[in-house]
Symmetry: C2
Subunit: 278 residues, 2 copies
């Protein structure tokens, strides 16, 4: 989960999300609208009998806040909260397992803030069943083929890997950029994400206000999407001054047509596709 | 406002409540589900430009929590938060203006907790227009009539007050009792309220659990309503273990037929009626 504003646990219940599945929370910065849902969520974890560790990747200052919470509301918590403090100097790998890696990306806000890049790990290749039936490779060879090696079947005959395996899945990536002023140096860091969430607190007309409060306009969000080579842009974190947000989406689409607004409960699927070789 | 659980400001917006009208918050006790909405609400007040004092009637420990909030999230708050600490020895008058008085009523929970009794102030009597036209009382006499005095129009003729004024409005009252174990000593304190909210966390079948956690069953809530002479009972604060709460209402109605469940957004009107004299 990324950020945890007030009412998060209520929304999780509404959308029938299983609380027990949540083991990693990424907090961009310590402003109320990004963390005021933590206390209630932690209390619900306790009430539901959680014992699994909970990992929180967040500015180090969160520790004091969690300690305060524990002291006042949950001195007998039955699970560990492990806080992994973020850094702000450069992009940094903060999580990696077999399937996914997560990098923190320093942003430009009024207080220390990071965005996050979620990227799949390139998995081993899938061998074609016909190739196994035909060449009957031994276990050692199978492991090598899956890693991309060709198969030597005699001293003068080699089957190229591309005949043995399916084209690999492309790794998918999602970048979450909020809250931040227009900050083009992140373009390199987010590496053409399949999906980019970028805050668009203000309309282009309110660019001065955006600059003063270290937020972005919808134009600026679209600019980042375009320059980074993102495939799709979601904008959100809209100022409550705008009663309707369609025009913010329209603004962004002038620069980056594949722009969509973030509404409560929206699901954006990123389909798996196979690499194409020329 | 009474208590402020997570998501309160979201609900206030949903029901189009004007934030600026909220000047007094009554907090029964320092458990998360009764106060985790405070931080977000205070931040929204600040964002909306509030400068009016905010009065919070709450256990004294809230001060440390508000101080922590200010230090970490709102060091530049533009309005004062005045905390009025509750007492736990006896029923106590904690607020009074021209129209309303509020008493705190100590309850029986795992931590210091108070319920609240809201009662209108008996207003001056309304003089009948016909009486003014007929007897033409002077200003001084009018003030006296409004206070219930008879009108002396000559040395041997007195017009009784009941001929000069309408029957007075009955004062209305609302008692809020949550969270608490079954605690019959409050019956005297709540003084036959027109409307009683009483927690009913558990079903009668789970009476042991209610006792262990210092909560009440729906039977117990109904018992308090009946013995106190309440006119209408609202039950709520239901345990999430019950998927449907109709049977809790049915239980309570066996003892106190005028029982209704508290649902989000419900409005319970208490109509003004005039006193009847025999």
């Amino acid at each position: 989960m990324i950020d945890c504003g007030e009412g998060t646990q209520i929304q999780l219940r509404k959308y029938k999300f299983r609380f027990g599945k949540l083991n990693h929370i990424f907090i961009s910065h310590i402003h109320g609208d990004h963390i005021f849902g933590l206390f209630g969520l932690l209390s619900s974890f306790q009430l539901l009998g959680r014992t699994n560790d909970l990992n929180i990747y967040a500015p180090g200052e969160l520790k004091e806040i969690i300690d305060f919470y524990k002291r006042n509301f949950a001195y007998d918590l039955n699970f560990r909260i492990i806080i992994h403090p973020l850094g702000y100097k450069r992009k940094k790998l903060i999580f990696r397992d077999e399937w996914l890696e997560v990098h923190s990306i320093p942003l430009k806000h009024r207080i220390p803030t990071c965005g996050f890049l979620f990227r799949e790990i390139q998995q081993d290749l899938n061998i074609k069943k016909e190739a196994v039936d035909k060449y009957k490779p031994d276990l050692e060879s199978i492991v090598k083929i899956k890693k991309g090696k060709d198969l030597k079947i005699s001293h003068d005959m080699v089957i190229p890997n591309c005949e043995l395996t399916y084209a690999p899945w492309k790794v998918r990536s999602y970048a979450y950029i909020s809250d931040t002023a227009f900050h083009p140096s992140i373009i390199k860091s987010i590496e053409s994400p399949d999906l980019l969430f970028h805050e668009a607190t203000f309309s282009g007309e309110d660019e001065i206000l955006a600059s003063e409060t270290s937020h972005s306009t919808s134009f600026q969000a679209a600019e980042i999407a375009k320059l980074s080579g993102a495939k799709k842009l979601i904008i959100g974190h809209f100022s409550s001054r705008y009663k309707h947000i369609e025009f913010l989406v329209d603004e962004a689409r002038k620069i980056f047509p594949e722009t969509y607004p973030a509404n409560d409960g929206d699901i954006f699927l990123v389909n798996r596709t196979r690499m194409e070789f020329s």
